[in-house]
């Protein structure tokens, strides 16, 4: 028999392999060469320093939204609202980046802090409603996503529009990008946000696994009746879990605003960063380290897929299929458990 720990490792690895296997079958079925397709994917993600930089750049916000979802999930909450929290964080970061004039050492941390706070406050509303009125957080966060999308569009159009559908650029003192890093990665858009993502991951791990706060949050997540019986303040923990989750998602928005784009544009629809975060957390088994690794995989897939059509002729949508299959198998981990046990039995 496997221990749970090994199993938590086997399921995602197995799922990823199956995802690539199904992707290969689909390519074959439509007359493409899987070897060519995957070579293009690999080169498009890690082929040179530019592509590697882009992969890292794409992974950074996914790491943070993955952490956001995972953190809420470990506390027994399903934060579908990371998407909306990304928007408010993005907007807050860009706004502070534009309107304030400060030296980098203060400006950048302040912009990050405000973005995180904006996300946390956006998540406070569903947290409060859940804790005090028992309203299900999924319903509220979905509604909050739409409010965030349209509200941020409105604010950009009404107050921050510079040209077309874009705000003006943030001042250099608030930017996460530096000349040196851009040159090092062959002119890619990569920025220092990966450090923020790593610090966030370590913070989440430490907070959840090593502190009394984490002990309470996890106890509430597993069994709130027992937590209540033990004298733990369940309501406060629900609110706190939502806010910390929102903080991570707000920081993900700041990565886009202060790093990748240096501005914010109006969105016709969702950015999908928050929704992809659900997949990241799921593949990462709701752990901090797992979310970082799976975000990196998803980032590589997304960036690599762009090189597939010009080089191998394989449509980039193939990557969507691979991701869908991976998620499918992680979600049906019960089935994998069953298959693995079956093999074990036959070996005997």
């Amino acid at each position: 028999m496997f221990s749970n720990r090994t199993f938590n490792l086997i399921v995602p690895i197995f799922s990823v392999l199956l995802g690539f296997l199904v992707g290969a079958i689909v390519m074959l079925a439509f007359g493409y060469s899987p070897i060519e397709g995957y070579r293009a994917l690999w080169n498009g993600a890690f082929g040179n320093s530019y592509y590697l930089g882009e992969t890292i750049r794409q992974s950074i916000p996914l790491m943070l939204t993955g952490l956001a979802i995972a953190f809420a999930f470990r506390s027994g909450l399903f934060n579908i609202g990371a998407e909306g929290q990304v928007f408010v964080g993005w907007l807050a970061a860009v706004w502070l980046g534009i309107v304030v004039d400060l030296p980098t050492i203060i400006h950048l941390p302040l912009a990050l802090l405000v973005a995180g706070l904006a996300g946390a406050l956006w998540a406070l509303i569903p947290g409060l409603l859940k804790a005090t009125r028992g309203v299900h957080e999924v319903v509220v966060t979905i509604m909050m996503n739409y409010i965030a999308l349209h509200l941020s569009n409105h604010i950009i159009r009404a107050y921050l529009l510079e040209s077309g559908s874009r705000t003006s650029r943030i001042s250099e003192t608030a930017s996460l990008r530096t000349e040196g890093l851009t040159t090092l990665f062959g002119g890619s858009q990569v920025h220092w946000g990966f450090i923020i993502a790593f610090i966030s991951a370590i913070t989440m791990w430490f907070l959840l696994e090593r502190t009394t706060y984490g002990y309470e949050l996890r106890a509430v997540g597993y069994n709130k009746h027992a937590a209540h019986y033990a004298g733990i303040n369940v309501k406060r923990n629900i609110i706190m879990a939502m806010m910390i989750s929102g903080l991570f998602a707000g920081l993900a928005g700041a990565m886009e605003g202060l790093g990748t784009f240096g501005s914010m544009h109006t969105h016709a629809s969702f950015s999908n960063l928050g929704f992809d975060g659900i997949a990241v957390a799921l593949l990462g088994a709701n752990t901090a380290i797992g979310s970082v690794i799976s975000a990196f995989l998803f980032g590589a897939l997304k960036v690599g897929s762009l090189s597939m059509p010009p080089i191998s002729g394989v449509p980039s949508e193939l990557v969507e299929i691979i991701i869908a299959v991976i998620i499918f198998f992680v979600a049906s981990s019960y089935m994998i458990r069953w298959i693995v046990l079956r093999f074990k039995k036959e070996e005997k």
Partner: protein, 510 residues
């Protein structure tokens, strides 16, 4: 024609990693009540699920009326005339008794419509024939647990059962309801029905059963005639060693008052007043047992004391200090420990390792944490000591609480609560669902804590337990303490009547 209506011969059932049944034989005579006795986890339910077609045995054969049969699903069991009443009823709350009974085999008229009239008529006939009084038009959610159980029995009879398996049927009933159930069982066998009674209550076996098959740790131990045995023999067959039933104890030596409740009023979640003007005192060094039928305010009383539920009015004092409107954490810190009624829902975080469960109320204190950072070294050291001292059987302190047996989970909770050296220990149904070996152990532990000078409040629906362990019995009915009796001056009959609301004078006449 065989002598037996159902025979299970040399049954073996394995699950990955364990043998749940091995070499078990059970032969049921027509028209007898046959007890299936065993500790928790001995494999009683597995064996009956094999008979009911839910599991397939690895070895052995099943014969019904002398013919070898293969029961691959419950529908086949039904067709062979085998019916089962599960411990947790399988009823639709918002349907009537009749609708529940016919569910899945509805009488039809004009091919598609359900003929409820016809069904109600048939059910009334059945209930008169077997003495199972129940109103077919009543909704399940409006009738008592005893009535619901009758509906379940009627359901099996309606499907033509000749053999009925009753899984721990008395666990949920009041003493009076148990008496009625025994009457029903007797009239069923008079009508030629055979009954298999799954239980670990020895007294019931002595009272109603003809024969008894014992299994221990999955192994068939044998079958005995009830008329030729006694409670002690059955117990040692079941557990494999001798068991003391009445726990030895010296008279209590009560000292200062620890808990004092004055004119307490508590409402439940529907805003109904569940505790009404209740007064109670408990002294150090005594066990006060609260006897009462479930739902008479016991849970609300405990929740009010422990700060889990709002107090409407009145006062609760611990050592003359009011703990009336303070949080659960403050109540715990003031010296109250609580063994909750539902150990899975409240007592444990099942997905936490047993070690982390041992600090559920104290994780934030030194030495288990320092500046908000947990010290796993100290937590697990503490857990190892508790496991040793209180004989909790677990593979390791890192094993999830979920993986432990019910008895060991309960021992772990008791270890945690008792080890905090509380002034007041509240034990709600501390032995529910446990077997005699574990019950003996827990009763001894409660008395030991009493002798150390703790005040103990015991709430139980088991009158045996109340009479055996308490130094003083307070009977709770409709939110009030209606009588206070001494265990040595009362009996189950009198307590049962008091619990049902009779006055003490009336109950005393019996």
């Amino acid at each position: 024609m065989s002598n037996y209506i159902v025979e299970m011969l040399n049954i073996r059932k394995e699950f990955p990693g364990i043998v749940a049944n091995n070499n078990v034989n059970l032969q049921l005579k027509k028209g007898e009540i046959h007890a299936l006795l065993g500790e928790n986890g001995a494999g009683k339910s597995t064996l009956m699920n094999v008979l009911f077609g839910l599991y397939q045995p690895e070895k052995g054969e099943i014969r019904v009326k002398g013919e070898v049969v293969k029961i691959s699903d419950p529908n086949i069991a039904n067709r062979l005339g085998i019916g089962m009443v599960h411990q947790h009823f399988m009823l639709v709350d918002t349907f009537t008794v009749a609708q529940n009974i016919i569910l899945g085999s509805e009488p039809k008229k004009k091919g598609v419509l359900v003929d409820l009239k016809q069904a109600e008529k048939e059910i009334t006939e059945l209930s008169e024939r077997y003495g199972l009084r129940v109103d077919p038009k009543a909704k399940i959610r409006d009738i008592s647990v005893g009535m619901q159980q009758r509906a379940e029995i009627l359901k099996t009879l309606y499907r033509g059962a000749e053999v009925i398996i009753l899984d721990e049927p008395t666990a949920v009933l009041t003493p009076q309801e148990i008496k009625e159930l025994i009457g029903i069982m007797k009239s069923l066998i008079n009508e030629g029905i055979s009954i298999i009674l799954i239980t670990h209550k020895l007294k019931e076996i002595m009272e109603v059963c003809d024969r008894c098959t014992v299994i221990r740790k999955g192994e068939g131990i044998g079958t005995v005639n009830v008329s030729e045995t006694n409670v002690d023999e059955l117990a040692s067959l079941m557990v494999g060693r001798d068991i003391a039933f009445t726990t030895e104890k010296t008279p209590a030596q009560p000292k200062d008052t620890v808990l004092s409740i004055k004119n307490l009023q508590v409402k439940d979640f529907r805003q109904a007043l569940m505790v009404k003007d209740l007064n109670l005192n408990i002294q150090a060094g005594e066990i006060v047992g609260i006897a009462g039928i479930d739902g008479n305010g016991q849970s609300e009383l405990i929740e009010a004391i422990t700060g889990l539920r709002k107090v409407e009015s009145g006062e609760i004092f611990l050592h003359n200090k009011s703990i009336t409107h303070i949080s659960t954490r403050k109540v715990t810190e003031a010296g109250v420990a609580h063994i909750p009624q539902d150990r899975h829902k409240f007592g444990l975080v099942l997905d936490y390792p047993i070690g982390e469960n041992m600090v559920l109320q104290t994780y934030y204190q030194k030495p288990f944490s320092n500046f908000k950072v947990l010290s796993f070294k100290n937590i697990y050291q503490h857990a190892s000591r508790l496991i040793e001292d209180y004989d909790v059987r677990t593979p390791s302190t890192r094993t999830k609480a979920r993986a432990l047996s019910g008895g060991n989970q309960q021992k772990a909770i008791i270890a945690r609560e008792v080890d905090r050296s509380p002034d007041l220990l509240i034990a709600a149904q501390p032995t529910r669902g446990l077997d005699v070996g574990a019950i003996e152990n827990i009763h001894k532990r409660l008395i030991k804590e009493r002798d150390k000078g703790r005040a103990i409040l015991l709430v139980s629906f088991e009158l045996d337990e109340i009479i055996n362990v308490s130094d003083r019995i307070a009977v709770m009915f409709d939110g009030q303490i209606v009588a206070e009796v001494k265990p040595e001056e009362t009996n189950e009959q009198e307590l049962g009547l008091l619990m049902a609301g009779s006055s003490k004078e009336k109950a005393g006449e019996l």
